[in-house]
């Protein structure tokens, strides 16, 4: 069967802008001995929401696991993983839609 193939993933997370979240998310990678190839943290296109963009080399199973662990953090809104060459331009739209539904259902 051999080792599962690794890909360069771009993991994005849309988050609240809260103290300590970077360290909290970084810990998910450290615990799994995943090296972060590139890291960007900046205000996203969705107003008031920050965005993490993390490049890491890993297997599809691991990538999915990492995304779910990131999303599990209280201050993370949504997280996604794509292989570097297939960026998803729809992420911001998904997050906007998600927040709209969340807030609408909580009236």
């Amino acid at each position: 069967m051999g080792e599962p193939k690794e890909y360069l993933y771009v993991i994005t997370a849309y988050t609240e802008n809260s103290v300590g979240l970077l360290s909290s998310i970084a810990g998910i990678f450290t615990r799994r001995s995943l090296n972060i190839e590139k890291l960007l943290v900046y205000p996203s296109k969705v107003e008031g929401i920050h965005k993490f963009k993390i490049h890491t080399r890993t297997t599809p199973v691991r990538a999915r696991e990492v995304v779910l662990q990131i999303e599990k953090k209280v201050d993370v809104i949504r997280a996604f993983a794509v292989v570097d060459d297939e960026r998803s331009p729809r992420e911001a739209a998904i997050v906007r839609e998600f927040l709209k539904n969340r807030d609408k259902n909580n009236i």
């Binding site: 103290v19 300590g20 909290s24 810990g27 662990q69 599990k72 209280v74 809104i77 909580n106």
Partner: protein, 565 residues
């Protein structure tokens, strides 16, 4: 009001009535205010902060509400780390309020400063540093909401001195919604219909359930589901007591030291329905051969658990009670008599080869399992059973009998924290003083947190301690015997004279060596409601069987040292 007083008001607003803690320099303003609130907030002074967190866990586990811990900064805070990790892996709601140095001193290596936020981030659901009194009410409301909602867990509030002493107006805060934190997963009708069709089509469905049943209060829903589909079920360690031990659909405990029947059913079912459990390796053995013949439905409230260990055919995100209730409406009423009796033979094998030799050995030293069995007889299934970790824990899980009341088994499952037992039992008794609380603890684990006898003494907490003494670290010794050629590295233990320790704390004490004295001693132990220790000297080199050796398949089970099935 000061931040400290706002904290008191906020705790009361959350319905907190009990705090387990230990004062110190950087939490003193809070303790000073606690003095004024002592009529409304019961503070239990432990002897070591680890005792406070395990007590809060015991309290939370039997009452299904968050336990509250209050400690100082630095060493006070680091001493609760073990319990926080334990609460995280066992989904136990606790809120830890830790003192912290003043805002100006943060990051300067000040006296008793430690970076508690960073220390606890990986082992909490949420950690927050309160630096201003204005944030107290908000942070407390959010902390209790996060700790108790969704998949419960620990939350840390790192409370700086300025936050405690500064002045602000108290504005009561509530929290039942955080936009980035989703707990209200509603499975679609289409998904549930698919699940019901899979269940109806199955000839040999088998339910494996865990702590999620207790946490969501799904006991009745589970029972209704099992009865309508005539589906047998097995429990994880933490799911025990949510279904009566003698329920006809209950096949026993899963996993390494579990019963044969549920492990055999796992490997012979055509549909495995997992509810509120996370396929721990102690349950699955090697996953390469785990339930490979079966389709798998996994019901859990935590999205990261579905597909984490076992790939599933259908994952259902949601609350166990809600999902089971809706599934029960959708599935057909069936009888599956033959499948329910599938393991009758294997059950008889376990009785003959494992249970009878353990519980009815004839003569010789008392077996540790006999102690649990006698306690179960005397308590008639109504005691809260608390365990430490190791052989005492596995035997308590195997031979305790539960009837009618869920959340009656408190143990450290995921982290396996020796020393958990005594303080957890203390917390359970404080939470539900009307119930009998029986602790099974070995000589190793007892000595890890034995200092809490002082708390039992001071507060008069009526925990019944059954000290199962074999003068070994029995679980490790068993592994050394079975897998490491009896090279007993650092497992022999020279014990103190426990009668004198009990005497020093003014706690009544009894000791048993002969089988004939065991039943009367246990009856005496439970005759009143005062704290007491019963030391039972048991067979020194006793082993817990059956056993699925580490890394083996669920179908490779040792019945004793020489026989396998």
């Amino acid at each position: 009001m000061t931040g400290a007083e706002i904290l008191m008001e906020s705790l009361l607003a959350q319905g907190v009535d009990t705090v387990f803690g230990y004062p110190g320099g950087q939490i003193m303003p809070v303790y000073d205010k606690l003095y004024d609130y002592s009529d409304r907030l019961r503070h239990i002074l432990v002897r070591h902060e680890q005792g406070a967190i395990h007590a809060a866990q015991g309290y939370a586990r039997v009452k299904n509400v968050p336990g509250t811990v209050m400690v100082t900064s630095g060493p006070g805070a680091t001493n609760v780390v073990t319990g926080i990790a334990d609460a995280m892996i066992d989904s136990t709601p606790v809120v830890v309020i830790a003192g912290q140095v003043s805002n100006a001193a943060l990051g300067t290596d000040a006296f008793q400063e430690t970076d508690f936020v960073n220390l606890t981030t990986p082992i909490t659901k949420w950690t927050y540093q309160i630096r201003r009194p204005e944030d107290v009410a908000w942070a407390v409301a959010r902390a209790y909401y996060i700790a108790s909602s969704g998949r419960p867990g620990p939350v840390v509030l790192d409370f700086t001195k300025d936050g405690q002493t500064g002045l602000a107006e108290y504005v009561p805060a509530r929290c039942d919604y955080i936009r980035s934190y989703v707990t209200d997963h509603e499975p679609s009708d289409a998904l549930l219909t698919r699940a019901a069709a899979m269940i109806d089509a199955a000839q040999r469905p088998f339910v494996v359930f865990g702590h999620g049943i207790v946490l969501s209060g799904a006991e009745d829903a589970l029972k209704a589901f099992l009865y309508k589909g005539d589906i047998p079920a097995g429990s994880t360690l933490l799911g025990l007591s949510s279904l009566d031990s003698d329920d006809t659909h209950f096949k026993g405990m899963l996993g390494m030291h579990g019963n044969l029947a549920p492990n055999v059913m796992t490997q012979n079912c055509d549909l495995l329905i997992a509810v509120g459990m996370r396929f721990d390796d102690r349950v699955t053995g090697t996953v390469k051969t785990y339930a490979k013949q079966a389709k798998v439905i996994h019901i859990d409230i935590d999205p990261s658990e579905i597909g984490k260990i076992i790939s599933v055919d259908l994952g259902i995100l949601g609350d166990a009670k809600q999902v089971l209730t809706r599934l029960t409406e959708l599935i057909g009423s069936r009888t599956r008599t033959e499948w329910n009796h599938f393991t009758d033979d294997i059950k008889a094998v376990e009785k003959l080869k494992v249970i009878n030799p353990e519980l009815r050995p004839g003569d010789g030293a008392i077996n540790p399992g006999e102690v649990v069995d006698i306690v179960a007889k005397v308590c008639q299934g109504d005691a809260i059973v608390v365990t430490d970790v190791g052989q005492n824990q596995m035997l308590a899980a195997r031979y305790s009998r539960f009837k009618g009341v869920s959340a009656s088994f408190v143990t450290s499952g995921g982290l396996g924290t020796m020393g958990f037992g005594l303080p957890a039992a203390m917390g359970a008794k404080v939470a539900l003083p009307g119930r009998r609380v029986c602790l099974f603890v070995g000589d190793g684990g007892f000595q890890m947190t034995m200092q809490e006898l002082g708390t039992l003494m001071q507060e008069g907490i009526g925990v019944k301690i059954v000290l199962v003494n074999n003068n070994w670290l029995g679980n490790v010794r068993q592994w050394q015997e079975l897998f490491l050629g009896k090279r007993y590295s650092a497992t022999r233990m020279l014990n103190p004279e426990y009668s004198r320790i009990a005497e020093a704390y003014g706690i009544s004490y009894d000791s048993v060596e002969d089988r004939a004295d065991l039943l009367p001693a246990v009856e005496r132990l439970f005759a009143d409601d005062a704290p007491a220790i019963l030391q039972v000297h048991v067979r020194e080199e006793a082993n817990v069987f059956p056993m699925i050796p580490p890394g083996k398949s669920v179908s490779e089970i040792m019945l004793n040292k020489t026989e396998w099935i």
